[in-house]
């Protein structure tokens, strides 16, 4: 037996199922009651390799899922895993989305950024909210969760930069159009996750139109529970793993580094978009 103390140690879980979600994007399903809020994340540990944060992309009473895009050494190792393999899970961590107060949940997702928002959409539908899901990507093959979102009866609007499916253009252009034509009946909040240039645009649009918004941000996370200081953002000095990853519109607007730079594992600032 193991006594129960307050700890931050990985819980070893078997992968129940792996689903291909889109090009280079896979979802890993675990049988475990996680009790997370949409927007929260877990730390995924591959013994002796590394451990990285992933947003919870699905959850019901007895299982949850995370979605992993193959972008580097670690995520490639995750993509090689098979159902039945064991990995470590810590969490859930961080602050999630607040949606209970709003009648209309208007989601803007950039590609793989749809992960926490697809969980949010499911939860909001369960609570009888009106959910609009703007799902954007470069091209059709980069759009995740198409089946799940169509089955969930959300109002799904797909947007691609190359026009290979849905509306041709940017998700934020569609957001701006919807908000301009919005009849202002019922309370509404925007929820966004995706590339930082997109998030910057969401901040500008929502501030101009005085619409509430919550954004899920990403920074290099090490400990995940607010101690090491790796993920702190300028100039507020707040921790993305603790006071985030979901922040409200005014907080996002006060994060001066948003869309400008981020820090590497060493702590060095690099321009947004640079690799090393």
């Amino acid at each position: 037996m193991r006594l129960v103390y307050n700890t931050e140690l990985p819980l070893m879980l078997r992968i129940e199922r792996i689903a291909d979600e889109a090009e280079d994007i896979k979802t890993l399903v675990f049988m475990h009651r996680l009790n997370s809020r949409p927007g929260q994340f877990i730390m995924l540990w591959l013994p002796r390799i590394d451990e990285k944060p992933f947003a919870v992309s699905y959850q019901d009473t007895d299982k949850f899922a995370i979605t992993v895009k193959s972008v580097g050494e670690f995520s490639e190792a995750v993509h090689r895993l098979k159902p039945g393999d064991r990995v470590g899970i810590r969490g859930p961590y961080g602050k999630g989305f607040e949606f209970e107060l709003y009648q209309h949940v208007l989601i803007v997702a950039g590609g793989y950024g749809a992960a926490p928002l697809s969980f949010l959409a499911n939860q909001a539908m369960l609570q009888g909210k009106r959910v609009t899901f703007i799902l954007g990507a470069k091209k059709a093959s980069h759009l995740p969760y198409l089946n799940r979102l169509s089955q969930a009866h959300v109002k799904l609007i797909t947007v691609t930069e190359d026009g290979s499916t849905g509306i041709r253009g940017l998700a934020t252009e569609v957001l701006a159009r919807i908000l301009h034509n919005h009849d202002r009946t019922g309370s509404l909040s925007v929820y966004a996750c995706g590339p930082e240039a997109m998030l910057k645009a969401v901040v500008d649009i929502c501030r101009n139109l005085h619409v509430a918004a919550q954004l899920s941000l990403e920074r290099y996370i090490k400990c995940g529970f607010g101690i090491c200081g790796q993920c702190c953002v300028d100039e507020l000095g707040i921790r993305i793993c603790k006071e985030g990853p979901v922040v409200d519109l005014e907080t996002a607007a006060s994060i001066t580094e948003l869309g400008v730079y981020k820090r590497t594992p060493s702590g060095r600032r690099i321009a947004m978009g640079d690799k090393k």
Partner: protein, 302 residues
Amino acid sequence: MKLRNPTVLASGILGVTGSSLVNVARHGAGAVTTKSIGLNERAGHKNPILLAFDAGLINAVGLPCPGIEESLYELRYAVENSEAPVIASLFASTASEFGVVAERVSRAKPAMIEVNISCPNVASEFGRPFALEATSAARAVEAVQANTRLPIVAKLSPNANNICDIARAVEEAGADAVSAVNTLGPGMIIDIHSAKPILCNKTGGISGPALRPIALRCVYDIYKAVDLPIIGIGGIDSGEAAIAMIMAGARAVGIGSGIYYRGIDVFSSVCKEIQEFMDHGGYSRIDEMIGIAHEKEARNQK
């Protein structure tokens, strides 16, 4: 150096960026300490670097550092914007490198320099920590002393065979204070399902409640050995723990893991709890409690 209150943010926690240090000061810390600054860029160890087990935290962050220029940018930001004094912690692989880093760091005008001679997690690269031997500890402090006019605090290791010898050595080498202690160990945590150590570095330093009685004993012993002011560090998460540390001989307390147990407001909580104890116990100043756990004659036997 004058502290706003007796709680100091210990090095290695929430000290990567200048704005984070400013944020911790805003939450009530009496002084804040940077993550240890070195000469060259280092990514540190891969994850996991920090875990909480049932009796404390275990970490092997591996001294990540963005390099001296970026570190100075963060330090200057903290010095200019923090409402509490900023202590610049520094590390190096040789005594002469300590001197080089100290000279550079001093230009950013921190209130004090902490010489981190006791990190237990980089032995494979750096060799045995300076703080385990009196002569090497003294050499590191002398090198810093020769390159700065700022006050110096030497951070000691609980893993030294006789921490009093080290304390005396750094006192003679010119240290103005000691902070005691750095993390204990190293220790290890093994996941029995994968049969693997969990920390990427396999081993890591122990802090938090598990370290508290050891840190307390170290401070108690150091107080008898030297006249230097002591920053007592190790498992401080409450006014009670802080007062015990002060009674052992500490003039101030360092807080790190306590942020995990009590949140970022731990500094103001500890101060409030110290004040409540003093009000009930009839103490009017912290000074009245420093070292009172010792027998009266103890300090005369140096």
